[in-house]
Symmetry: C2
Subunit: 461 residues, 2 copies
C-alpha cells in the first residue's frame, strides 16, 4: 500500500528539489488529497533515522538537531546571485595585477595588465612586482587579523607624521619549486603590547601574536581546484606542508583555510587560500584536542581512527574514497553538504606527516570531491574548507599526539540549489545547529554526482 | 607630536567609515607619505586595548580574537541589497494573506486581500482565516524543525494514498488580550520514534520532541519594533511571557528568537518572531548553564549579576540604560555591534519572573535600542535576537536557578554600512571568532546614535 507515493516523497527529499519542481509536485498532491493529508504523508514518508532527532558530535562535545521534514519548506527569502562568477578584469589576485591597497602604478611589464594584484607579473601596491609564477604563490595578507609585532612610533620625513620609525625585517624570499614572495607590507613589527591586565575573572584578555598569509593556487584566475591537474593540486598540497612546517616551528596553531565564493566572504575569485598562524590555540582546535584526548585516554585509540574504520565498514556516509583517503559526510555534520576528508591508514597527525604517495592521492581525491561539489548544483560550489591536525610549536615533534588524526573539513553553505543557502541564524546562533536533510541523504546525493567529468567540460563537449 | 593624524585614525576606526570616505582618506595619506608609512601609522594609532588580543567569554568558556587594525581593510567582496525592504504586496505574514503552503483560496473577506498569510483577516493555506488581530498573533510554524509527535500511517480516501489516519488534536484557541490561533496543520501527532540505538560512543543520537510557533508583533507589515509604541511592544513582551509560561511547563527549553532582515534568513519582512520549544537542552544554553553554575559555586554570586555591576561601574561598554535595564556591548562580543540586554536589579531568572514595571521598561529600552540600531546605518537594522534564561520543564519552579540571570542577545551581522556585513567564515568556523572594531568602539558608536528620533520619522519632518 502507498509505496509509490512514499518513494516519490523520499526521492524529493534526497533529491534536494528546486522550488519549481517542488511547487508543481506539491500542487499536484494538494489538488489530489488536500494539504493536510499531503503534509501528514510526507511526515509518514520519513523512517526512523530520518525523523527528527539530535545527534552527538564527539569531536566537539555538542549536538545537532536533524529535522528532515523541513526539506519540503518552501523558500521565499533571500537568494544568492549566481556563483558562476566571472573573475573581474581588474582582479587583484591575478598575476600582474595591482592589489587594492591604494597604489596603482602602471606595470613595467609588456603583458596587458588587468589590474589584478594576484596575477603573475602584477605590480602590487607596495610597488613590488609579482613573479611570473606558474604554480602556487604565497604572500602576506595586507590586512592581517594577526600581527607578528606592533610598531614603535615610526620616524617620518613628513611634517604631519613625526614619529620614530622602527620597522622589523621582511620575510625573505623562499626558494622552492613554488614561489613564496617577500613581505609586501611587513607587519613584522617590534612587539605586541600585553593588553591591560585584569584580576577579574569576567574581564580576561591575553596577548595574541601571529601572521596572516595569502597563497595563490594557480596563475590563471579561472582555474579553480577541480579544473586544475592533479600535479597542479599536488603543488598546492606541497606548499601547505611547507607553510605548516615553517610556521609550525614558531606558532602553536597554523590554520590553513580557503573561503571560496562571494557568499563565503571571499572578495577575490582568483583561486587562493589563506594561512593564519597564531601564538594561541583557537577555540575549535582546543575543544577538538580535549575531546580527542579524553577518548584516547578512555579507549586507547584515536577517536578519528576508530571513526574512519566504522565509516569504511558501514559505507552509508561515504562520498568518495581512493587508496589513501576517504571523503564522507560526518554523522554529526552541521552544514547540508559538509564533508570531512580523512586518511585511511598510517595515522598522520599533521600535514607534515604525509608521505609522497599520500600527498598525490590527496591531490587526486581533492580534484574528485571538488568536481562532485561543482556538479551537484552546476556551479562553482562555495565553501569554507580547512585543515585540522595536532597543534604545533617549538616543543612539538612528529608522533607526539597519537590522539589526533589529521583531517580536512569542507563547510559549504548551499542547501537546495546554487542560489538557496542554509541560514545558520536565530535558532542556530542562540540554541543549536539545525539541519534539514540527513547526513546519509547528503552523502547519497554527492555519491550520485560525477567525480571525473566537470559540468563545465561537459558544456564544451 | 603627530597627535592630529593619530586622532584622525582613531576617529576613522570608531566611525565605522564607509568605503568611499575611507578610500579618499587613504588616498590622501598615501599621496602624502606613501602606503608603507600610512600603514605603520594606523597601526601606531591603536593603543594597548585596541591592539590585537584575545578576550575570554566566561559564559561560553571560549575566546574571541580582536584585531582592530583590520578596520581599514578595503572591501571588494559581496555586498548586501539594501535592507530597507518594502514588504511585498503578497506578503504571507500580513493580516488577511494566504500563507505559502500551496493553497490560494480567495478570501471571503471584503478587504482587498494582498495575499499575505500573516495579515489580520487573511485566509491561510488550511482554509482558516486569521482573526482581525490588532496586537500580537501567534500560530504554529507550518514547517517546524521540531515536531511534537510523528504520525502513524494516516488513512486516506485517495487510492494513491492508502494508509491509516491518526491525527492528534489541535491546540485550542487561547483567550487573552493578544490572540493565539489554533494549529493550522497540527504537528500534534502520535509520538516520535526513538532513533536507532547505538552502543558506539561515536554514533550517538537521541529523540527530539518539540514545537515551533510563529508570533506576529503587529498587524501592519511596515511597523517594525522601533516604530511601534511602547504599549504595542509591551504586548509583545507580555506574549513572550505567556508563551514561556505555557510551553515551559512541558519543555526543557523554549527558545524565543527573531530573525530580522533577509540577510538573516528571514523570508517575510512582516515583524514577527518565532518560538521553538524542545524536549532537550540545546548546546548554547547547556554551555551557559554549566559556566554559570561553576561561577556560582566558586564565587557564591551569579556570573551575570556580578558582570552587570562591573559594567555599570565602568560604563565604557554601555549603550543605553533605564531604571530597570541596561543594553551593553559585552566585553566578549563576537559580532561587530552585538549587544546584551540585562536587568539591573531583582535577579529575574526567566522572562516569567519579570514584574509589570520591568516589562514596561523593557518595552521602552527595546524601542530605544532598536531606534539606535536603525539610525546607525540608516536602515532597518538586521539581526538575530533571542532570550536566554534558566531552563524550564515540569520540575522547574521560580527561583530555583540562582546561577542564571535572564538576558537577551542581539546579534547583528552588519560591519561597516547597510550593505557590508562581517563574514564569519573560514577562520571563524575552523578556528575562532574574530572581530575588527573593539567592543568599546562599537559601544561608543551606538551611544552616539539617537534613541528617540528614528531616521524614518526624521525624513518625514
Ligand atoms: O523558520 P524560518 O524563519 O523559515 O527559517 C529561518 O530561521 C531558522 C531558525 O533560525 C533557520 O533554521 C533557517 O535556516 C532560517 O532560514
Ligand atoms: O581576509 P579576507 O579574505 O578578506 O576575509 C574573509 O575571511 C576572514 C577569515 O575567515 C574573515 O574574518 C572575513 O570576515 C572574511 O571576509
Amino acid at each position: 500500500y502507498s509505496c509509490v507515493p512514499l518513494q516519490w516523497f523520499r526521492e524529493m527529499l534526497i533529491d534536494g528539489v528546486g522550488d519549481g519542481k517542488l511547487k508543481r509536485f506539491r500542487k499536484m498532491l494538494i489538488d489530489g488529497v488536500g494539504w493536510g493529508k499531503f503534509k501528514m504523508f510526507w511526515e509518514m514518508s520519513l523512517d526512523g533515522v530520518e525523523h527528527q532527532h539530535i545527534r552527538y558530535n564527539p569531536l566537539k562535545d555538542s549536538w545537532i538537531l536533524v529535522s528532515p521534514h523541513r526539506c519540503l519548506r518552501p523558500w521565499s527569502g533571500q537568494t544568492e546571485p549566481p556563483t558562476e562568477e566571472e573573475p573581474p578584469q581588474n582582479n587583484p589576485l591575478k598575476p600582474g595585477a595591482v592589489r587594492g591597497n591604494g597604489q596603482t602604478e602602471p606595470p613595467a611589464e609588456e603583458e596587458p595588465l588587468q589590474n589584478n594584484p594576484l596575477k603573475p607579473g602584477a605590480v602590487r601596491g607596495n610597488g613590488q612586482k609579482n613573479p611570473l609564477y606558474t604554480s602556487t604563490y604565497v604572500f602576506p595578507n595586507d590586512f592581517p587579523a594577526l600581527l607578528e609585532r606592533v610598531p614603535e612610533p615610526p620616524q617620518s620625513e613628513h611634517p604631519l607624521f613625526q614619529a620614530k620609525q622602527a620597522r622589523g625585517t621582511c620575510r625573505s624570499e623562499r626558494d622552492t619549486s613554488t614561489y613564496v614572495f617577500p613581505n609586501d607590507f611587513p607587519a613584522l613589527l617590534e612587539r605586541v603590547p600585553e593588553p591591560p591586565q585584569s584580576e577579574h575573572p569576567l574581564f580576561q584578555a591575553k596577548q595574541a601574536k601571529g601572521t596572516c598569509r595569502v597563497m595563490c593556487f594557480h596563475p590563471d584566475s579561472n582555474i579553480t581546484l577541480p579544473l586544475m591537474t592533479v600535479d597542479e593540486i599536488l603543488a598546492v598540497v606541497q606548499e601547505w606542508t611547507n607553510q605548516l612546517s615553517e610556521l609550525g616551528r614558531r606558532y602553536t596553531w597554523v590554520q590553513i583555510f580557503e573561503n571560496k565564493g562571494a557568499i563565503m566572504g571571499c572578495s577575490n575569485p582568483h583561486p587562493h587560500c589563506q594561512v593564519w598562524a597564531s601564538s594561541f590555540l583557537p577555540n575549535e582546535p582546543r575543544i577538538k584536542d580535549r575531546c580527542q584526548k579524553e577518548f584516547y585516554t578512555k579507549y586507547k585509540k584515536a577517536l578519528l581512527v576508530e571513526y574512519v574504520e566504522k565509516e569504511l565498514e558501514s559505507k552509508e556516509r561515504i562520498v568518495i574514497e581512493n587508496a589513501d583517503w576517504v571523503a564522507l559526510v560526518p554523522y554529526w555534520a552541521q552544514w547540508p553538504y559538509e564533508t570531512m576528508l580523512l586518511p585511511k591508514h598510517g595515522h598522520p597527525q599533521r600535514l607534515t606527516d604525509l608521505t609522497d604517495a599520500q600527498k598525490r592521492s590527496l591531490a587526486e581525491i581533492m580534484k574528485h570531491l571538488n568536481t562532485k561539489y561543482d556538479n551537484l548544483f552546476k556551479c562553482s560550489f562555495p565553501y569554507s574548507m580547512g585543515w585540522h591536525g595536532a597543534p604545533t610549536g617549538p616543543t612539538k615533534i612528529p608522533g607526539d599526539s597519537p590522539h589526533w588524526l589529521l583531517h580536512a573539513l569542507y563547510l559549504p553553505p548551499l542547501l537546495r540549489s546554487a542560489s538557496i543557502k542554509k541560514f545558520m541564524v536565530g535558532y542556530e546562533m542562540l540554541a543549536q545547529s539545525q539541519r534539514d536533510l540527513t547526513p546519509e541523504q547528503a552523502a547519497a546525493k554527492l555519491r550520485e554526482c560525477d567525480h571525473l567529468v566537470h559540468y563545465k567540460t561537459l558544456k564544451k563537449m
